[in-house]
């Protein structure tokens, strides 16, 4: 069933682009029609990365560092010259373990603009399962969601603290607790 909820973080995340700057966007998963429609209001280039479909394989083998790097290279297919200043991770981090989040951060860092801003969801605690939904952006005030077509198992979703400690390419800006065991996060590039 399709649903929507208000967001207070997108205004800040989109601030530079609302002022006319071109957005180079990393979007994890296939975007909804309304997300693409929202982006038509901005000068932008969106890189769509089908990262979710290969997750089960990565989760089974995440103890191998080399495999982690290969996984992100193959799943994201980021062009060498990419310099993203906006990342929409949605709930992707909820499906990764500590090792994979760390590898993901290391892999991503060279492709991030120094002023990059990002959005993600986390879960309230380790007992909360990640929601089996896919997310979109109807406008800067409204996030939409629809049920995921293929279930992705995530036995141990990382806590917010764990994400903060291991997703080292970003610093956390604001967290907002949501009612369905999720936390909405805005982030900015860690230039240290």
């Amino acid at each position: 069933m399709e649903s929507s909820h208000p967001t207070k973080l997108m205004d800040w995340i989109f601030e530079p682009f609302s002022a006319g700057e071109k957005a180079e966007v990393l979007h994890l998963g296939n975007p909804f029609s309304e997300t693409v429609d929202t982006f038509t209001n901005y000068r932008c280039k969106i890189h769509v990365a089908d990262a979710y479909s290969k997750l089960p394989f990565a989760l089974k083998n995440s103890n191998t560092q080399n495999l982690s790097s290969d996984f992100f290279r193959e799943a994201l297919e980021i062009p060498p010259a990419a310099s993203f200043n906006l990342c929409l991770f949605w709930d992707f981090l909820n499906f990764l373990d500590e090792n994979l989040i760390n590898s993901f951060a290391s892999f991503l860092k060279p492709y991030l603009d120094k002023n990059c801003r990002a959005h993600a969801f986390a879960v309230h605690n380790v007992k909360s399962m990640p929601s089996q939904h896919v997310y979109g952006l109807a406008d800067l005030k409204t996030i939409t969601s629809r049920p995921r077509q293929k279930y992705i198992d995530a036995p141990n979703p990382p806590t917010l603290k764990m994400i903060q400690e291991t997703f080292h390419c970003f610093k956390f800006d604001r967290n907002i607790m949501l009612t369905d065991n999720r936390i909405e996060i805005s982030m900015f590039k860690n230039n240290n």
Partner: protein, 170 residues
């Protein structure tokens, strides 16, 4: 088929030709989309395979297979549900219902229907991606001056044609 109007097919190889007009519904869909195009539409039928460059002066519906490039910056291109394209495509409005591997430039718009499967990079001032469509690549909605200029002049032409047609019908 491509001798109608001013279409040109360079270096093409038609491996198999059967009934071209087997998909009249698709043609009528295209007609509805651009009913005022005096040159009509060209159609690559489901059993036709083309290797090479496709260019011309008519709207084009592809229900067959095209490998190479499709260069119709002033015309609409529809890749129908049975269409299979391995080519870079340029069109005024490019509408994808089938499968394509290649980069797509839409002077005005690119539309990927829910049955569409696209692997490549899109450049257009406006992109519509219907839910259910499979897409892998990038979407550039800041196409820069050349495409914007083409879009502007295409809209200008359209307005001029419409006002001429209105004038002649009165």
């Amino acid at each position: 088929m491509f001798e109608r109007g001013k279409s040109v097919l360079d270096k093409f190889e038609i491996k198999k030709i059967t009934e071209i007009n087997s998909s009249e519904s698709k043609v009528s869909t295209m007609s509805q989309r651009n009913s005022k195009n005096p040159r009509g539409q060209a159609m690559i039928g489901p059993s036709i395979v083309i290797n090479g460059k496709v260019s011309g002066d008519e709207d084009l519906t592809i229900e067959g297979t095209v490998e190479g490039s499709i260069d119709l910056p002033n015309q609409n291109v529809l890749i129908g549900q049975s269409g299979r394209v391995e080519a870079d495509v340029q069109g005024k409005i490019v509408h994808i219902e089938g499968k394509i591997e290649g980069d797509i430039k839409g002077v005005e718009q690119v539309i990927i229907s829910n049955s569409g499967n696209v692997r490549g990079n899109l450049v257009a001032p406006r992109v519509t991606l219907e839910d259910g469509a499979v897409f892998k690549g990038s979407i550039d909605m800041d196409p820069g001056e050349p495409l914007l200029e083409k879009a502007k002049s295409s809209i200008k032409d359209k307005i001029q044609k419409e006002s001429l047609e209105k004038g002649s019908s009165q």
